[in-house]
Amino acid sequence: MSGGGFIKTLVIVGHPQIEDSSTQQFLKKAADLSEVTWHPVNTFNVEVAKDQALIQQADRLVLQFPLYWYSAPAVLKNWLDQVLTRHFAYPDAMGSLVGKELGIAVSLGSPARNFVAGAGENFSLSQIMIPFQALAHKLQMTYLPTFVIDQFGYQSDEMKAKLLIDYQRYLTQPRLGHFDDQTNWLVNQLTELIATVPEDKKQQLTLILDQIKNDQSTLEDLQMNLKMIQDTEE
């Protein structure tokens, strides 16, 4: 999975009342991207073969849910138990998930800062998510850093704007945490936007795009020089 490629993402949304959740409705609109499949799980009736096929088509799986008593809602746990059969999932059987990525997008009713040793909740989200990390390990998947949405209802317009882009990147940016991939992702979005706007705005946005690309190559050159200097010092 290189910096410039496209990845296919399956978002498995485990929530007993998805339609009533303003958080999930916001994320659903944000996930309206060509490479993303949005798959709601809100009942205990699971179509195992169909959902296994969905998994096989994806490069990145995102389990998305509100935190219920420090775990996923029962509908999502049931889905995992039904769909990830030993034959389908185990690396020494079909190994259908080997090499895929596993991300967790969790929404919290209390502030994320409470999830740290000594604070209100006393346990970190990395600790609370260990069962999912163990699952990824067992199935030879790459475990991604957890994406946290906390107190959605209290977020300002500007915070929601940042959430929208960060979430979209979490779903579709190839290497999360790589600044160069973040730049390429945003450059692609801007390029797509430019194709849809009137001529005068097109010119303005193209100049902006050029500057961002120039800064990207300036940074690349500097980092290459720096690497050469570091290599000669060793």
């Binding site: 940042k162 929208l164 973040q182 945003l186 979005q189 303005q204 100049l207 961002i212 800064d215 990207q216």
Partner: protein
């Protein structure tokens, strides 16, 4: 904060003028990205200066 580039200024202006949420969010994210680019360029330049500084040429 470092001085804003022309691109960052334009993006923030566009964000303030754009009613569509998704488009506005993209402008804000690009403005933040461009600021981070400037920060990283400055850091890299600083590190190059630091590493190539030679005490014998004092």
């Amino acid at each position: 904060m470092a001085e804003q580039t022309w691109a960052t200024q334009q993006l923030l202006k566009l964000a303030a003028q754009t009613p569509q949420f998704k488009e506005r969010a993209l402008y804000l994210a690009l403005a933040e990205l461009n600021e981070e680019q400037q920060r990283r360029i400055k850091l890299a330049q600083g590190e190059i200066d630091g590493r190539t500084w030679n005490p014998s040429r004092w």
